[in-house]
Symmetry: C2
Subunit: 115 residues, 2 copies
């Protein structure tokens, strides 16, 4: 019985990732912290809209900001993504065939259990 009280943190996590712009922002920040304006310049979208996306990411703790002077530097904070990985893990055994890099090593290690 998937009883669902209000909005779990997992809900907000997946909700945050549902938007392509927000995923792109995270990808962008993989290269290092950036200011709001610098981020906004990369998107075909008004700066306040980017600010709102950043707020969603902040609320899910996927990014963190640090004020320095009159700039706010946003940096990616990937820990919450563990929630995605955890949700994903029960499904992983299904695609044992087509794994990416690391996983393959593991598969060899574990030995096949599938004839």
């Amino acid at each position: 019985m998937p009883h669902r009280g209000k909005t779990s943190s997992t809900d907000r996590l997946f909700g945050a990732l549902a938007n392509p712009t927000r995923r792109d922002i995270l990808d962008l920040l993989l290269d290092g912290e950036q200011t709001v304006q610098t981020i906004a310049d990369r998107f075909d979208m008004a700066r306040p809209s980017v600010s709102e996306h950043l707020r969603v990411l902040r609320d899910t703790d996927l990014v963190r900001e640090e004020q320095r002077g009159r700039h706010r530097y946003y940096a990616v904070h990937p820990e919450p993504l563990v929630g995605v990985r955890d949700w994903l893990s029960p499904y992983e055994r299904y695609w044992r065939a087509r794994l990416t890099d690391l996983g393959e090593v593991l598969d060899d290690l574990a030995g096949g259990e599938q004839p």
Copy 2:
């Protein structure tokens, strides 16, 4: 430049997973295929609404249906989730510290590259 044409398959994938009911349906189907009615019984929601969620999952190929008699059996089809895993992978190096089961083995295997 995160140019975005229409709606990528990744968008639809994350979009499908954004809904808690749909994630719950997938989790439910991990235990094996089920008919629509059986699935619907698990949720506090009208059956047609569940049908719509199933359609979204079908459109993203996350579930597959097989008609047998007058029943339609839905089964989880996790391959598309590779897209999530792939999107996630650049972030994984960040949480090397707190890994889940399998990952830990791998980490030990690979040897630390962090002093």
